[in-house]
């Protein structure tokens, strides 16, 4: 099974990125073969809709589970019909989360942010 994580570096020692849509890299990890693939997140520099584009990248890699600290509504609208289950990370390190996921210790994410948080128009900020 392939799992994806937003990560700050192309390394198994990396930390999990705080954001999903605008993370620098994704780690795509195969739980059976233990293969690691690091993918540049082309959505990181998007003017808007980064979550949608990042989610597209995740489903295109046939990922079945995403481990992330948070995730926006629009990304969920791509990930869920794309067959991806979304789990909340509980550790900072990549390895710790993989181990916890393998033991079935990670919970499905329960809080979804509203769509279009921080696009070119500054979301709903600026007031």
């Amino acid at each position: 099974m392939k799992i994806a994580m937003p990560v700050n570096d192309k390394s198994m020692k990396a930390s999990i990125s705080d954001t999903f849509g605008r993370t620098q890299f994704f780690l795509i990890y195969n739980t059976e073969s233990k293969d690691c693939l690091y993918v540049d997140n082309s959505a990181a520099a998007s003017q808007g809709g980064a979550g949608i584009k990042a989610a597209q990248l995740v489903i295109d890699h046939k990922v079945e589970a995403l481990l992330t600290p948070q995730c926006g509504e629009n990304a969920v609208k791509v990930l869920q019909p794309g067959g991806v289950r979304i789990y909340k990370t509980t550790y900072i390190s990549v390895m710790d989360n993989i181990v916890a996921f393998s033991k079935g210790e990670l919970a499905l994410i329960d809080h979804i942010y509203g769509g279009g948080q921080g696009g070119f128009h500054g979301g709903h900020g600026g007031r």
Binding site: G49, P81, G83, G115, H121, G122, G126
Partner: protein, 294 residues
């Protein structure tokens, strides 16, 4: 600019954040100007109409075009998904999915699709209400909640307001300095920046100051909520050599009128005179600019 008479001048009122007094200034200037047009471009939460309480004589819906996918024609080439700069399209389970609220209605995907699988449909994003309050024509743009951008509403509203005649126009801008503000000041002859007397106020003033400078618009500052103590916004203006058009005191009477949705210039002689004098100052500035330009 050279062909602009003072009679049909367009004055935009801006500030870096909400609550500084844009609506106070623009509503009162329009009220003392007699024959005038007030345009509320703060389409996410228009509030000028609460003061004017205009008799509405008409309204129109504002629509944008959104792509629709014909799944029977789509071959899954993903050209549209890769093209969309706003990531409004995704390809999920072998189907193109449109995220309406991300779409900026550029129409590019429709032009691009080699299979002609994309067409456009109209989507209502909000409306404009037109009314009169004494001699002021009031145009109010209202963006429906959840929509990405009010720019199409502002475009339509300003085009209408420009077409109706030669009364001076006062444009109540959205807060900040983003695209929607740029659209609102595009055709303005003069920009009034409203500033609060705090360090935070200076930061917000600097944002809009940079914007109007970039757009090469003539501008001046109105200092609002002024107290007797030192005013950082005033110091900023003096340091940058920015024209101060006037000061509005931090006054309980004004605050009360405002919170009761009364137009101060219509209720109080003191404020009628204050805003009339501010209007004259602005007129003088616009006239100078017109002469300097011709």
């Amino acid at each position: 600019m050279a062909d602009t008479e003072v009679g049909n001048m367009r004055v935009a009122v801006l500030s870096g954040k909400g609550g500084t007094g844009k609506t106070l200034v623009s509503v009162n200037l329009a009220a003392v100007a007699g024959d005038s047009v007030y345009v509320d471009c703060d389409v996410e939460e228009p509030n000028g109409h609460l003061f004017f309480r205009p008799k509405v004589f008409g309204s129109e819906q504002v629509m944008v075009k959104i792509p629709v996918v014909d799944a029977t024609r789509c071959t899954g080439c993903r050209g549209c998904v890769d093209f969309c700069k706003f990531n409004a399209l995704a390809y999920i389970q072998e189907q193109v999915v449109v995220f309406d609220e991300m779409c900026h209605s550029c129409g590019g995907c429709v032009l691009l699709c080699p299979e002609h699988a994309l067409t456009e449909r109209e989507k209502i994003i909000g409306e404009i209400q037109y009314g009169f309050s004494r001699e002021t024509m009031v145009a109010t743009g209202i963006l429906n909640p959840g929509e990405a951008s009010g720019i199409p509403i502002i475009k339509k509203m300003l085009a209408y307001a420009k077409a109706v005649g030669d009364a001076p126009m006062f444009i109540d801008c959205p807060p900040g300095s983003a695209c929607i503000v740029m659209e609102s000041i595009q055709d303005a002859d003069y920009c009034i920046l409203v500033a609060e007397p705090t360090l935070f106020g200076v930061h917000n003033l600097a944002m809009v100051y940079e914007l109007v400078d970039l757009f090469k618009k003539p501008y001046g500052v109105v200092l609002n909520k002024c107290l007797s103590e030192e005013n950082p916004a005033e110091i900023f203006c003096r340091q940058q050599g920015i024209k101060i058009l006037g000061s509005i005191p931090f006054d309980a009477e004004l605050g009360t009128m405002n919170s009761n949705a009364c137009i101060a210039a219509r209720e109080s002689l003191v404020y009628r005179e204050m805003f009339s004098s501010l209007l004259q100052t602005v007129l003088g500035e616009v006239r100078n600019e017109t002469i300097a330009d011709s």
